[in-house]
């Protein structure tokens, strides 16, 4: 699978640069969820608080 498909609900897919991967510098795991894509392709089946 290619990165765009693999990273479908992540705002910026993780791409290589001539065989290198530059680690994201944002805090945490370093990505933002694309909530529009999540709404389109995802379905919440459980929530609790």
């Amino acid at each position: 699978m290619n990165p765009e498909g693999r990273d479908a609900i992540i705002k910026e897919p993780f791409m290589h640069d001539k065989g290198w991967f530059h680690m994201p510098q944002a805090s945490g795991l370093g990505f933002e969820i694309d909530h529009r894509q999540l709404e389109k392709y995802g379905k919440c089946f459980f929530k609790a608080s």
């Binding site: 609900i9 991967f21 945490g28 392709y41």
Partner: protein
């Protein structure tokens, strides 16, 4: 005090731009990437995310258990306790190490750092290898290798899964000879875990694996991955002791650190390729990395499943401080 206050679980089915037929699941062609997604939210609004591969509706019923074990006031920084609770789920028959990185997501956000830096890493970039996920005839494979070489990769992992071992050996030999001096070739035999729901698959014996390792060594392959069934620890150790080419594996040892510690002591692999989503989470994978360093064997992260698996295992590898070439999902 910050505590986990809310949990949400999702199914996600997103289209792939092209059909994909994984070599390790004979008979399957995927047109979507399908996974479970978790979002934990703390009482002060910090979110932790993770996602795990989905083959059906096997995790539809875990919501209340996840809420009971990980929500209701749990401290997201108490990784030992949270890992113990994932182990409780595993004893009950449901392995969910993929939840653990979501807690690390929260902790690293609390610290204002990317996770690998929170864990002591300083490698800002990783050298990747290209990983082909499909079986191809040799002509198509050579075209693929040339394309990945042009993309900037200096190492590529190819796949074999034929009933006839001569076909497999000819394939690796032809590709390695063609790319000799330009690109290192590795091979994934996908013997560790048999996915035979749709179609039967070859099951290699130790003798077949030895013959294959001999051929791989003769043409200078970088490593041979998962050449035997994952539970055959003694046979794996015999193969690794015998082989002239590095034997790699470890991504699917779902019991985590205790199992991988035993495998390391037994010298089952030359290269331990762990996937935090399957094999113990971030903490246990880093514990294995430290053990590998002490024992003088190689460690590398491994991934395939989705973007969450990719980035979580990238953080593990960047934090490990070990500079071996790491996996890419490019095909």
């Amino acid at each position: 005090m910050q505590v986990i206050d809310r949990v949400e679980l999702y199914h996600v089915n997103a289209p792939l731009p092209a059909p994909f037929s994984p070599s390790w699941i004979p008979g399957l062609t995927r047109t979507i990437v399908s996974f479970y997604l978790v979002r934990f939210i703390t009482n002060d609004g910090i979110e932790g995310w993770s996602g795990f591969t989905r083959s059906g509706r096997e995790r539809v019923g875990i919501g209340h258990t996840v809420a009971d074990l990980f929500s209701w006031g749990q401290d997201p920084e108490d990784i030992e306790k949270l890992s113990e609770r994932i182990h409780i789920m595993a004893v009950g028959g449901n392995f969910n190490w993929w939840l653990e990185p979501a807690f690390w997501d929260i902790n690293a956000k609390n610290a204002g750092l990317p996770l690998y830096k929170l864990l002591g890493g300083s490698d800002n970039r990783l050298r990747l290898y290209a990983s082909s996920g499909e079986l191809r005839d040799t002509g198509a494979r050579l075209e693929e290798a040339e394309a990945r070489f042009a993309d900037g990769f200096d190492t590529m992992k190819i796949r074999v899964h034929d009933w006839n071992e001569k076909v497999d050996i000819e394939h690796i030999s032809d590709v390695a000879t063609h790319m000799q001096g330009r690109m290192k070739i590795a091979v994934d035999c996908n013997q560790a875990f048999r996915l035979t729901a749709l179609s039967d698959a070859p099951l290699w014996s130790l003798d077949r694996a030895k013959r294959f390792a001999d051929a791989a060594a003769d043409v200078g392959l970088a490593w041979v991955e998962e050449p035997l069934f994952g539970d055959w620890h003694e046979e794996m150790a015999k193969l690794t002791a015998y082989s002239r080419v590095p034997i790699a594996g470890g991504g699917l040892h779902v019991l985590g650190y205790p199992e991988l510690k035993r495998l390391t002591k037994m010298r089952c692999y030359n290269i331990y390729q762990l996937d935090a989503m399957f094999a113990g989470g971030v903490k246990q994978c880093l514990d294995v990395a430290r053990l590998c360093k002490k024992e003088g064997v190689d460690f590398s992260s491994h991934t395939w499943i989705n973007g969450f698996g990719f980035i979580i295992n990238a953080h593990v590898f960047a934090a490990s401080g070990l500079r071996r070439t790491w996996c890419s999902n490019i095909r």
